[in-house]
Symmetry: C2
Subunit: 488 residues, 2 copies
Amino acid sequence: MDAAEFRRRGKEMVDYVADYLENIEKRPVYPDLEPGYLRSLIPNEAPLEPESYEDIIKDVERVIMPGVTHWHSPYFFAYFPAASSYPAMVADMLCGAIGCIGFSWAASPACTELETVMLDWLGKMLQLPECFIAGTHGRGGGVIQGTASEATLISLLAARCKAVRRVQTINAKKSESEILSKLVAYTSDQAHSSVERAALIGAVMMRKVPTDNRYAVRREMLKKMVEEDKAAGLIPFYQCLTAAVTVVTVKLETQETRHFGVSNICMFQFCATLGTTPSCAFDHLTELGPLCNEENMWMHIDAAYAGSAFICPEFRPLLNGVEFADSFNFNPHKWLLVNFDCSAMWVKERADIIGHWQIPLGRRFRSLKMWFVFRMYGLKGLQAHIRKQVALAKEFESLVRADKRFEICAEVVLGLVCFRLKGSNELNQELLKRITKSREIHLVPCQLSGRFVLRFAICARTTESHHIQQAWQHITQLTFELLQEASH
Amino acid sequence: MDAAEFRRRGKEMVDYVADYLENIEKRPVYPDLEPGYLRSLIPNEAPLEPESYEDIIKDVERVIMPGVTHWHSPYFFAYFPAASSYPAMVADMLCGAIGCIGFSWAASPACTELETVMLDWLGKMLQLPECFIAGTHGRGGGVIQGTASEATLISLLAARCKAVRRVQTINAKKSESEILSKLVAYTSDQAHSSVERAALIGAVMMRKVPTDNRYAVRREMLKKMVEEDKAAGLIPFYQCLTAAVTVVTVKLETQETRHFGVSNICMFQFCATLGTTPSCAFDHLTELGPLCNEENMWMHIDAAYAGSAFICPEFRPLLNGVEFADSFNFNPHKWLLVNFDCSAMWVKERADIIGHWQIPLGRRFRSLKMWFVFRMYGLKGLQAHIRKQVALAKEFESLVRADKRFEICAEVVLGLVCFRLKGSNELNQELLKRITKSREIHLVPCQLSGRFVLRFAICARTTESHHIQQAWQHITQLTFELLQEASH
């Protein structure tokens, strides 16, 4: 394919993409096939000779699309939103063409510099304290990571490094491995599995702090554990707070994917704690922050999903206390219209992480996506997007509340509604099974205090009120059938 | 931007991209500006109201392009190749539109399944032993990682986990932290910094094995260290061989980037060991492999750059011994025309890494790029690409050898030529300074046995013989001026 053919094929692909997204709601949102479907549809080996573009593009509908879960369908209410917008896609084309590997300033100055400034723009949209903004001559600043998991790992490793140095300053004789064996990190017993995984990778102990009846960590409880651990000769050094996350645990499928092989690594055997926000989960940043600071513990805040909402003044109070944090992270690639991957991380002291802790060396020119999106939407446009989706969640909540057969299971603060049929877990499992089988809408479940709960997350940018109404009508129709059968 | 505007703007961007790449050689390959240039060119904050697309696209030439190091210019001979091809770009547009987050099979079956099959295709192109191929009912298979650094880290963590289990099987009383403090990994004293960093992250000891006079680790030397360590009560568990890498260390700029902030994390203070290939670096896989197997040490082979060449039968012998490895990795995003990021990793035992060790949870649909590229080029087209670039390196080598003022500093096996002016390091530094300043071609230096050496890497897909001739003419012209001045 030369430049001339690219001009033709690229433009055809632009039309294909626009057609796909304009008509996505006509496709079944969830695929109807068995694991292993794809291997039999394509050859076992790469072709020796070049194939024609026509043959390849035909295979997109034949091979790929039947196996796609359509995350951007307005009937997709599963997991969490995956940001998608046209300006981000156009910017990504430019990113691909420039194709620089930004591992140093000289490797492409614009790549490094635009990223720093975009993280400042975004930090200001969130009203982060000045100490996190690079352009204010402070010692902090922002960086793009691939995912929130990487940000958590990096913050834990930075904290570990700092703790070892601190202990050795006091007692130069202590070996690093001796210190490591004493380090202890803390997180909520409701935290995302990636926090535990970071501790596992970093080979440090992690303790889970029990939460109160609103699933929040409280100062007294953390204080008590820290005191106990210190008395036992341990060294508290790190606390990860997953703001905007509650007990919405999605158990992903396990066995059926296992035989697929290593491309499933880490795609199962974990429980993703995906976020809604009982506001209580935030109330205590101001309570825990000073304790972390007193105890010389690194405080990391992970607001992967909810972070985007903080650009709206009415949600910003949820982040109060961030001034105590050493690092803060959220994912514009979830809810801020910047296509995956783009996880924004800020630290108070650049020196703590510089030279160490970004896992990959290479970097794409990801800040271009942010630049295009922020400018094409403007802050007001982005705020309107968040508010619209929160309103849609509220609309769905009202529909549920108006139906006495159902109950709402967690306070609806942002874009996620947790609900269930009043009745047994089995009943709700059966309802979800029928919803999944019908393939008109897509939901995933969660566990809330041992109860099987349905999660309804507002995900696609194009979801409108009539999709919500349609989804509810569909759910109540299936419920009607289910309850009728159950009563026979 | 709605679908209609995307159709228009997307197509304009296709033309912009094609124009950019068709005319890239007219641009200075390396930017001429001072660190910090960008901040003053754009506002300090995101706009409140949406801006017009015209304003944004105008800023691409005003703000971005002056700060771009053009990695795809045929005059770019620095670092290593960053793969770029039109089919990959078209596939990436599709990937962006589907926009699934492939963290589980159900989250998008096609994403997981195509990846597994594409890694099989690629593994077969490389003639990997069957035990690495998922579709052969074996226990191995492939997975896409972001970068080779991640693959190294993951293999080290998997090896660590396995070693702890093995020791605890023999002695259940040993605590994990006690075992960790005894684990020792090995790598060549010439290895990439990411290997050391993986050990640092994983909190295990890493010993550097001295190399012979051709920069290769030899069996006797490794054996000796392993025996010593065992005698001292340590537990050898991991060996990373960086195939196709020699002592071509690029010291990246440091101070001038530091004030930029955290988007430089890990972008400096490291020495990237970028690859050429004295064939000796491979000769000994068959020698070291059995030793690793006997000693229950995980053997990881990192062939980030050179791996692509192994699709050509004439280079495949360099990989002999891979059958002893537990994991193997190389970067199609370097030399196999699949745009960044796409690092291919295979393991012999999926069970060793499943459920554990991929750093990010989310994943893009990256296998689409491989599918498009492998089919549009065919194996023959890809082989032709590798062979052409190797031939260009040989052509440059001949030019250097024909000029008595210069010397070749390492055997030219693949696409990299290491050369220098006979004379002092200072003389060569001055030559490079002038080359960089002229901005007609772009090179970076390396250290070889304490000598300052110029690296000439064949990088861009569009580099032709006349670019090589032109580059050499330019270098000799600057050399002529330099030597004349020096003789005065």
